[in-house]
């Protein structure tokens, strides 16, 4: 199948690729782009997929046209039987009639088309199988009701089957070829389907021979105005057979190329993709590229940290932590005197939600630059929905940051050692006064012990203080880093993640649509 390259040059694989692209775009756009458009596209894509699954060796050709344009006469002339009702009373045909050449494989197709068995006829099952019929093998010809009569049910049937046919032959007639009903409702909306449509000026016998070219030129002009420059235009007369062989030939050519179904699906996919693109936009998301988005995220993290008041907290915490460490490590009486210094119970400052809100809005505007309408709104919505969670996480991160770090264990050990030394000094004095300590190096043992303890204490106290300060400061740097990382991860895991997911969906949407349009 894929090897056949004909009029339209769309291979089977390519059509499947385009359909997959459309599917991806629809999935990405669901809930973000206008629901009606997405739902329509889903249904149409479903129909297209269904058609590809059904017989690829059959081609459904629909004859469509106004009342009295001679669809049924053309139908009868093509199948060589007086099957479809022809009459002067309008409208004549009330339901679609189908004629299948080689009906064996077409049953599923006809069921899918929704043409009941009583309105079907098969050409090959009849006895008069001729060379001509063999040539037409694989054709399913539909005679549609009119699209412009007072019978509204006819229009609905036409609207339905026009979506299903692989190839549509618009039967025009000299009186009616310029009707608004035809051009505005059917031809203009199918401008992307020029490859899978034919226009036929029937009843050409009613136009005087010298005027025929002018009439054909005029129709060509109207078709060009509809955006259908590529649609083939033939002149026929079902009544006297003029032009019928050419029409038959043209149909047979399409039939043998066996790609009308694919071409039709490709045209449908293009139309749908264009409609989706109109609804959601496919502009490049200039703000979403890596450098721009990275810079925007940096700005956001900075602005959020500012909004929490964390920019000032570390210094304040530094004082508290330092004081605490010194108190713990210092000589107990001195440490108690220190109590009047900077406050140790550093406080939680609630996040400034207004500033946070502004920062998030700026971020969304920056990374969403280039996206239009529906997608820009989706980005804003995604960010806004995660904002409360961000505030919660920032609050806990802030609480961690403002808690003064506990001094390391050895600070306490130093403090305990100093306390022991002080106690030892006191004990030595008491021993000297109450007991009789031995002499050490010519001095009373008690006094000597007290002096040693006091000297050790005097040496140890400042050293311990300095050590504690150094430890507190290094711990604080670490803590500031931790806090900053905490803010960054809170921002990343809420707003940035949510917006990132939307941007990823937008990228999938763009990719899908560009695949669907074959660009």
């Amino acid at each position: 199948m894929t090897g056949v390259e004909g009029v339209t040059g769309v291979s089977g694989d390519e059509v499947v690729e385009r359909l997959d692209g459309l599917h991806a775009a629809v999935e990405a756009g669901r809930g973000r782009v206008d629901d009606d458009v997405v739902t329509d596209a889903t249904k149409a894509a479903e129909r297209a997929r269904e058609r590809l699954r059904l017989s690829a060796s059959h081609t459904v050709v629909a004859l469509a046209g106004a009342t009295g344009s001679g669809k049924s006469s053309v139908f009868n002339a093509l199948i060589g039987l007086d099957l479809a009702a022809v009459g002067v009373k309008r409208p004549t045909t009330s339901w679609a009639t189908a004629c299948a050449w080689d009906p064996s494989g077409a049953a599923d197709l006809l069921e899918w088309l929704g043409v009941p068995a009583r309105h079907q006829v098969s050409r090959m099952s009849m006895l008069d199988t001729s060379a001509e019929d063999l040539e037409m093998e694989g054709l399913v010809l539909l005679d549609l009701p009119d699209h412009d009569s007072t019978e509204v049910s006819h229009h609905l049937e036409v609207d339905r089957l026009v979506q299903y046919a692989d190839l549509i032959v618009w039967v025009l007639d000299p009186q009616k070829y310029a009707d608004a009903a035809l051009h505005e409702r059917y031809l203009r909306p199918h401008a992307t389907h020029a490859d899978v449509m034919f226009a036929v000026l029937n009843q050409v016998d009613r136009v005087a021979v010298p005027d025929r070219q002018a009439a054909m030129d005029d129709i060509r002009r109207l078709l060009d105005d509809d955006g259908l420059q590529a649609i083939p235009l033939l002149a026929t007369s079902a009544a006297n057979g003029d032009g019928m062989p050419e029409l038959r030939r043209a149909l047979i050519d399409r039939l043998h190329a066996k790609e009308a179904a694919r071409a039709r699906v490709a045209a449908d996919v293009e139309t749908l993709a264009n409609r989706l693109a109109d609804a959601g936009g496919v502009e490049a998301a200039t703000g979403a590229d890596e450098t721009a988005a990275g810079a925007a995220r940096e700005t956001l993290v900075g602005a959020v940290a500012d909004a929490t008041g964390l920019a000032t907290t570390p210094r304040q915490v530094a004082r508290a932590t330092e004081g605490h460490a010194r108190r713990v490590a210092g000589w107990p009486p001195l440490a108690m005197l220190r109590g009047g210094g900077p406050r140790s119970d550093s406080a939680v400052t609630p996040v400034d939600e207004s500033r946070l809100d502004g920062a998030v809005r700026d971020y969304v505007d920056a990374v969403g630059a280039g996206t239009s309408g529906a997608w820009a709104a989706a980005l804003r919505r995604a960010a806004r929905d995660r904002q409360p969670e961000l505030v919660d996480r920032l609050t806990s991160a802030t609480a961690d940051a403002t808690r003064a770090a506990a001094p390391p264990g050895w600070c306490r050990a130093l403090g305990a050692l100093q306390l022991l030394l002080a106690l030892a000094a006191v004990a030595a004095v008491v021993w000297q006064l109450v007991g009789s300590p031995p002499e050490v190096g010519g001095l009373d043992g008690g006094w000597a012990g007290a002096v040693v303890a006091v000297v050790a204490l005097l040496v140890l106290a400042p050293v311990a203080g300095a050590l504690a300060t150094a430890a507190a400061r290094s711990g604080l740097r670490e803590q500031a880093g931790t806090v900053r990382r905490g803010v960054a991860s809170a921002v990343d895991e809420t707003v940035v993640a949510a917006v990132g997911a939307e941007l990823a969906a937008y990228a999938a949407w763009q990719r899908g649509l560009s695949a669907a349009r074959g660009t």
């Binding site: 106004a66 009342t67 009295g68 344009s69 002067v88 009373k89 309008r90 409208p91 412009d148 009569s149 007072t150 019978e151 229009h155 000299p174 009186q175 009616k176 310029a178 009707d179 608004a180 009903a181 035809l182 051009h183 005087a208 005027d211 002018a214 009439a215 005029d218 500012d306 909004a307 929490t308 008041g309 000032t312 210094r315 304040q316 900077p342 406050r343 550093s346 406080a347 939680v348 400052t349 609630p350 996040v351 400034d352 939600e353 207004s354 500033r355 809100d357 809005r361 505007d365 969403g368 630059a369 996206t371 239009s372 309408g373 529906a374 820009a376 709104a377 806004r384 609050t395 609480a399």
Partner: protein, 572 residues
């Protein structure tokens, strides 16, 4: 009431109706709005083109409009009736682009000036475009003009609209169809209009094979009966070879005879004119009420949009004012800066009027002489302006989401550029409010301290105390601050407010409560003013839509008057 008086009143009511329909706007794309717009336009056109001119010149010749589908052979029929090639025919569709009016030379008075179809420009030559081409021809009957109209179902929209307008102005329709055409939907819709207006209609079945004629004619007659047109004369003109480019006289004879009869008998002519006119007035009143219904729906929708703005404003404004009252604005950077300053005992220095220590002064010189309160002031400016911006942004979101349902399709999502611009404007306005508020704080401190004059000249101290007053005011107008939120957060805020008030008390030697309340109230008022400006902007957008109740009323009033006077004028 005399008849002439009733007549004058009818005319004036019709003019009022035309004016009120002209004034009205249907800005929203509600269901049925397109139809109502179309109805309004055609009604105005009909009043201008037909009803008023016809009422004022009841003796003017009958205007018979030859209308129908493209390719049905209207022009050929007109030429055949006049027995001269007065209008162009051809195989190309649509053929008749400029409408052609054929009248007897004696009737020229009525047509040359803008008595009939006053809005349509005249062209005497063959100029193309939507101009009425007048062709005086002795072949036309006296007292009846034939107008060859464009196709009602033409692919060219301008052509279609013009056809509609001309049919609306007809005293008599000659509806031309063909065997291939007679069941088309579009012309039947137009015919249904004629039946509603009780316009006299003659149907000409053109281009029919003689052998099919009987069957088609029978079917067509049944369709006419089913659609309330059974009294209309039905003529068939068989498809036949042209004689000198015209239909053979014999084929058009029945139609011509009927027209001559109409044109010749003044009484019959008067009846035809009156019937169409009264029918038109009846449908006109009906349509006017329909338009009024549609306008009324739109007025309701616009009211709903207004209500949306008000509700959204009340909600956001309430929330923002609440935030000022409960002191939740004292948070984040402002609070952190305050704590930092308190930790360094800086506010105590401002309170006691002490000079900064040598070390501090040295460091401030090295840093480029920044006063100690600068960073707190910056944080306060930022906090207030961010709060104002957020409130406006919330209002804008709220209104947009409400309008998304009440005014679907009318208010487009702003694109990135316009959103960026409005954000910039919003920030500038909020920044101005915040700066003015800070200036008020300093002014309040200065006036409170002004009594002893000790502080004039010490700008740093004044600014510092102003910043302290702002901290207290952000914490709420009431002492202690009501507070909301988690326990520790409230405790932090309450303590900061107490500290700030204490600093002020010591510095100003008086209870700072009234000052704090005044500054907090000013913040509340500025928040309200800023949101009120946003609300007014939205309301102005709504007002610009121009759907007002009085429009509905004036249409209904004029339509009622026309309806009341209608039967009375029937006697004229």
């Amino acid at each position: 009431m005399s008849e002439s008086r009733a007549f004058a009143e009818l005319v004036s009511a019709l003019i009022r109706l035309r004016q009120s329909l002209d004034d009205v706007s249907l800005p929203l794309s509600a269901p049925g709005a397109d139809e109502a717009r179309e109805a309004r336009r055609t009604t105005v056109d009909q009043l201008e083109d037909y009803v008023l001119p016809r009422l004022l010149q009841i003796d003017a010749p009958l205007l018979a409009v030859v209308g129908g589908s493209t390719g049905a052979g209207k022009s050929t029929l007109v030429n055949g009736l006049v027995r001269a090639e007065v209008t162009s025919t051809g195989v190309l569709r649509p053929t008749t682009r400029a409408p052609v009016l054929v009248h007897h030379p004696d009737d020229a008075y009525w047509f040359t000036a803008d008595r009939i179809l006053p809005d349509l420009p005249r062209s005497d030559g063959d100029a193309a475009g939507p101009a009425l081409r007048l062709v005086p021809h002795p072949g036309a009957p006296r007292g009846l003009a034939l107008l060859d109209a464009p196709d009602v179902d033409s692919v060219d929209r301008a052509n279609r609209d013009l056809a509609g307008a001309l049919l609306g102005a007809a005293d008599l329709w000659i509806f031309v169809t063909s065997a291939a055409r007679y069941a088309d939907q579009v012309p039947w819709q137009v015919l249904a209009d004629a039946a509603r207006r009780s316009t006299a209609v003659a149907i000409v079945l053109d281009r029919t094979d003689p052998e099919d004629a009987a069957e088609v004619r029978g079917h067509l007659a049944r369709m006419l009966t089913a659609r309330g047109l059974k009294d209309s004369p039905l003529f068939s003109v068989p498809e036949s070879a042209m004689v000198d480019g015209l239909l053979p006289a014999s084929t058009v004879e029945p139609v011509r005879g009927w027209l001559d009869e109409l044109a010749g008998d003044t009484a019959v002519r008067g009846t035809v004119v009156e019937r169409s006119l009264l029918g038109t007035l009846r449908t006109l009143v009906y349509t006017a009420h329909q338009v009024a219904d549609a306008v009324s729906q739109q007025v309701d929708a616009v009211q709903a949009m207004r209500a949306d703005v008000q509700t959204a404003h009340a909600e956001v404004s309430g929330r923002s004012v609440d935030a000022v009252r409960t002191g939740t604005l004292l948070r984040g950077p402002v609070l952190a800066r305050w704590q930092e300053l308190v930790a360094g005992s800086e506010p105590d220095r401002w309170a006691e009027g002490r000079r900064a220590g040598i070390r501090d002064r040295l460091s401030s010189v090295v840093r480029g002489r920044q006063r100690p309160s600068t960073r707190l002031e910056e944080a306060e400016l930022e906090a207030v302006s961010a709060a104002l911006v957020e409130a406006s942004a919330q209002l804008s979101d709220e209104v947009a989401s409400r309008w998304a349902t009440s005014a679907r399709g009318l208010v487009a999502e702003p694109d990135a550029t316009s959103r960026a611009r409005s954000t910039r404007e919003l920030r500038a306005r909020a920044g101005a409010h915040a700066a003015a508020w800070q200036a008020s704080a300093v002014a309040l401190v200065r006036s409170a301290a002004g009594a002893d004059g000790s502080m004039t000249g010490d700008a740093d101290r004044l600014a510092g105390l102003g910043a302290v007053l702002q901290v207290a005011a952000l914490g709420g107008p009431e002492s202690g601050g009501a507070g909301s939120g988690s326990g520790t957060a409230v405790a932090t805020r309450v303590r900061a407010v107490e500290e700030a008030r204490d600093v002020l008390r010591r510095a100003l030697d008086t209870d700072p409560g009234p000052l704090v309340t005044r500054l907090a109230d000013e913040l509340r008022d500025r928040t309200r003013a800023s949101l009120a400006a946003d609300r007014e902007q939205r309301l102005a957008t709504v007002a610009a839509l121009g759907a007002e109740t009085h429009h509905v009323e004036s249409i209904r009033e004029a339509a009622r008057t026309v309806d009341d006077l209608r039967p009375a004028s029937g006697a004229t």
